[in-house]
């Protein structure tokens, strides 16, 4: 599903964010990506989301070298990935429904189908009945769940989460991770960047550890 082959990323100014990173995530796998802040977690996720391009090496997603993809095809490659952020990245002047529907509207899916799928996604994250609310009126955990519903609504084969539990208390964090487990169980590949080491250890999934841009451990 996802493969990094000798990937390096050097930012202008000579800062090496990633150095010769190699790893592979197979289809339907769930893994955590850890490391101190500044270790390169965000850069690694940005390479997968094609928000940045690698300086060296290949990033393969679905047997496609996404480091070489043309600008025109970037949006279509991104639709294969559901992304979740620590700061939710929701549209605050739109309702919960509109937020979750966004990827479907963009993909040009018909209204009837959108309604059905958004309700299904909101049902999965237990937010059914709050479609008409605005994100700001909901709690942090609920906002994060809107983000998750938006990420899974168009059924991408892979979910990337950047510190999804960053601002949540341990109980809520666990709930969120359990959501990811549910998606993983139906075959979605999940990669979660987090520095919440106790949580990761408790969950017992494969862990990819970055330190100063190098992959120091990929235990499974």
């Amino acid at each position: 599903m996802l493969q990094f082959i000798n990937v390096s990323k050097r930012y202008p100014g000579g800062i090496d964010a990633l150095k010769n990173v190699n790893f592979e995530l197979s289809n339907g796998e769930m893994a955590f990506l850890t490391g101190h802040s500044g270790a390169g977690k965000s850069t690694l996720l940005k390479l997968i989301a094609i928000l940045e391009r690698s300086t060296q090496g290949q990033v393969m997603l679905d047997n496609q070298n996404i480091g070489r993809i043309s600008k025109r095809n970037i949006p279509y490659a991104r639709r294969k990935i559901g992304m979740i952020f620590q700061d939710h990245r929701l549209l605050h002047d739109h309702t919960v429904f509109d937020n979750v529907a966004l990827p479907l509207i963009i993909a040009g899916i018909d209204r009837h189908e959108i309604k059905r799928r958004v309700r299904a996604a909101l049902d999965k994250v237990s937010l059914l009945g709050k479609e008409k609310r605005y994100p700001i009126t909901l709690s942090g955990g609920e906002q994060q769940r809107i983000g998750i519903a938006r990420a899974v609504v168009n059924r991408p084969p892979m979910i990337l989460a950047d510190e999804p539990t960053g601002n949540l208390d341990p109980a809520l964090s666990e709930e969120i991770i359990q959501l990811f487990e549910q998606f993983n169980r139906v075959g979605v590949t999940v990669l979660i960047a987090s520095h919440d080491v106790p949580l990761i250890q408790r969950m017992g999934y494969r862990t990819l550890q970055l330190s100063n841009g190098e992959m120091v451990q990929h235990s499974g």
């Binding site: 949006p75 279509y76 991104r78 639709r79 963009i106």
Partner: protein, 276 residues
């Protein structure tokens, strides 16, 4: 705000164009009563003059002739010029008989007019043929310069409108930066992100163009009253023409075009910078 700036900016060249068109139609009216004055020799008697006038009347190239008796002309001159006493001193009438000719061809057909003039010159008893088209030529020359000027001003102000719209769209882009980021992250194509901005560009251009036309016609309406009373003083009935509908449609189209192009340039540049 943007719409009114666009409207004012566009009303300047379109207003100038309307003015030029009006002056042109005014000079067109003058063309119609553009006469040729034929001055006869002093020795020609009134009877001979009448015969000549009648023969000219039969010329197909001439619509009408009007003989001005030299005695009548002198009397008129005495009355209106204010040189009454000076004229009484003269031993004989210095004025010749004059035949005023209204030619078939107007000023647009210069060649046939000049041909007519040279024909007239060859006739006996005719001393001088005068067709004072010089000033009309000059007026037309000035109008051509003015028209070229309007074209240049239109281009420059068109660029200004493009910049105004670009700047407004740029501000909108900055305001919606987060929203655009989110849309990109969930796989929106550039065309999808661009669409609402192109709509804004369209509306800015459309409304700006409409208001510019309204402004120009409002100005014409305001100036029309004084102009026709001024024309009345010259024994002329002249009404300013409003902007023709076809021009209004063209201006609005031009403005809409600028709006969409302006928006497109800004948004596509912005998106291309975001995508590495």
């Amino acid at each position: 705000m943007t719409v009114s700036v666009i409207a004012i900016t566009l009303s300047l060249p379109s207003g100038l164009l309307v003015s030029v068109n009006n002056i042109q139609s005014l000079s067109g009216q003058i063309d119609l009563n553009n006469n040729i004055s034929v001055f006869l020799r002093q020795s020609v008697t009134l009877k001979q003059a009448k015969i000549l006038s009648d023969s000219l009347q039969r010329d197909p190239k001439i619509i009408e002739t009007n003989l001005i008796d030299k005695n009548a002309a002198l009397e008129e001159f005495r009355q209106y010029s204010g040189f009454g006493t000076a004229i009484s001193v003269l031993a004989s009438n210095p004025l010749p008989h004059v035949i005023q000719i209204t030619p078939l061809h107007s000023i647009d057909n210069q060649i046939s007019l000049r041909l007519l003039v040279s024909e007239l010159k060859q006739r006996p008893n005719i001393q001088l043929v005068q067709m004072d088209m010089g000033w009309l030529d000059r007026l037309n020359g000035i109008l051509n310069v003015a028209q070229r000027g309007v074209t240049i001003i239109t281009i420059l102000l068109g660029l200004a409108v493009l910049l105004i719209i670009s700047n407004t769209i740029r501000l909108e882009l900055q305001n919606r930066h987060d929203e655009i980021d989110i849309m990109r992250l969930v796989g929106a194509t550039h065309a999808f992100i661009m669409r609402p901005f192109l709509y804004s560009g369209f509306w800015y251009g459309f409304l700006g163009g409409i208001f510019a036309c309204i402004l120009v016609n409002l100005s014409v309406w305001l100036i029309d009253g004084p102009t026709s009373s001024l024309a009345m003083l010259y024994n002329n009935s002249f009404n300013l023409a409003f902007m023709p509908l076809i021009h209004a449609v063209l201006w609005v189209t031009f403005s809409v075009f600028l709006g969409i192009i302006g928006a497109w340039i800004v948004v596509s540049r912005y998106l291309n910078e975001l995508e590495s």
